[in-house]
Symmetry: C2
Subunit: 181 residues, 2 copies
C-alpha cells in the first residue's frame, strides 16, 4: 500500500510558524482580497485523514468557527479521554508510538495523511516519517517564536517537486523525501 | 545616494548555512555538471564591494584557490593588523560600529554591498541593515548546524521580488526589505 505523510504549512523567512507571542496574525501580512487558498483545497483533496497533536487540536477548537475539516482527524493524546459529542464522528483520539499510531490509522484504510502542528511534525521528522513538505514562505522576519524545524538525528535529502508563487508575493516549495528503494 | 546591502547565500530547508560539523559539502548535494552559478555572477555585477567578518575572511583564505573576488572586500576585524602583501589592493580591514563602517565604505563611493558570513549578516540584521536577501534553498534537512537567522529585536517585512528555479532542483527567493519612506 502506497502511503504518504505530508505537511502543509506556512513559515516566516526565518522559519517560524508562530511569533514570539505565539501569534499567527503575521500570516495575513500580504493582502488577500480574493481569498486565494494557496493550494490548500487542492492539497486537501489528496489527503485521507489528518494527524495532529493535542495542542493543535485545542487551538483549532478555540477558533470561533465551525469544525473546519471534512476528513477524519486523529488527535495524538495520552491525556484526553473523549471528544465532545458533536465531534465524535470527526475526531478520533489515538496514542502510542508513532509507528503504532500510523499502523492503526493505515489499517483503517487511510493512506495519505496530513501531519499538522509544530510538535507533531517534529516528532514525525525525528523518525524520518515525513514524505512531503509544502512550505509557504511569508516574506517577513519574525526574529523569534516557534520554529518549524528542530534538531534531527541525521541529514535527510528531499527533492524539489515544484515552486509556486501566490498573490505575486508569496512563494511555496513542495519537497518530497528522497528515499532509496 | 541610493545604497543597498545584499545577502546572497544558500541554506538547507531548515535554514542552516553550515552543518553540525561546520561543513558545507551538502551544498553540492544536487549534481551540477554544467556548473550553473545560480545567479551568482549576475548578482556580483550589481555589487560594488563585499563586507565580511574575520572568520569568513579566514575561511576564504584557507581555500586552496586564488583570491576569488574581483571587487574590494572590507573585512570587519578588531584584531587583524594587516593583510598579506598580495591582498593589499583587494582586502581592506575596517572596524567600528556597523553604521560607522558603512559610512566609511560609502564615503569611498561603494553603494551596493554584498554582506557575507553568518555572524556579519546577523549583526547587520539586528540593526535592520539588510535591504535584500537572495536565498537559495538546497533540498536537504541538516537537523543542526549554524543557522542563517537568529533572534531579532523586531519583526521586519520584506517583499518577494522573484522566485527562480535552478537545475530543476533548487529554488531561490529574492526578498527586498519593505521600508516606509
Amino acid at each position: 500500500m502506497k502511503t504518504k505523510n505530508s505537511v502543509f504549512i506556512a513559515t516566516s523567512i526565518d522559519g517560524y510558524i508562530s511569533d514570539k507571542n505565539g501569534k499567527i496574525d503575521w500570516l495575513n501580512t500580504i493582502p488577500n482580497p480574493s481569498n486565494d487558498d494557496m493550494g490548500y483545497n487542492e492539497f486537501m483533496i489528496g489527503i485521507d485523514a489528518l494527524v495532529m497533536g493535542r495542542k493543535t487540536f485545542e487551538t483549532v477548537c478555540s477558533f470561533d468557527v465551525d469544525w473546519p475539516y471534512e476528513k477524519p482527524v486523529f488527535v495524538l493524546s495520552n491525556s484526553l479521554q473523549e471528544v465532545e459529542e458533536e465531534l465524535k464522528d470527526k475526531v478520533f483520539l489515538i496514542h502510542g508510538s508513532l509507528k503504532e499510531v500510523l499502523h492503526q490509522i493505515r489499517k483503517k484504510g487511510f493512506k495519505n495523511l496530513y501531519i499538522d502542528g509544530g510538535a507533531t511534525i517534529q516528532s514525525f521528522l525525528k523518525e524520518d516519517l515525513i514524505d512531503e513538505f509544502v512550505i509557504t514562505t511569508i516574506p517577513i522576519l519574525l526574529g523569534g517564536g516557534t520554529s518549524l524545524f528542530s534538531e534531527l538525528p541525521k541529514k535527510m535529502e528531499y527533492e524539489l517537486v515544484n515552486t509556486k508563487q501566490y498573490l505575486n508575493a508569496i512563494s511555496q516549495n513542495r519537497f518530497r523525501r528522497k528515499r532509496i528503494n
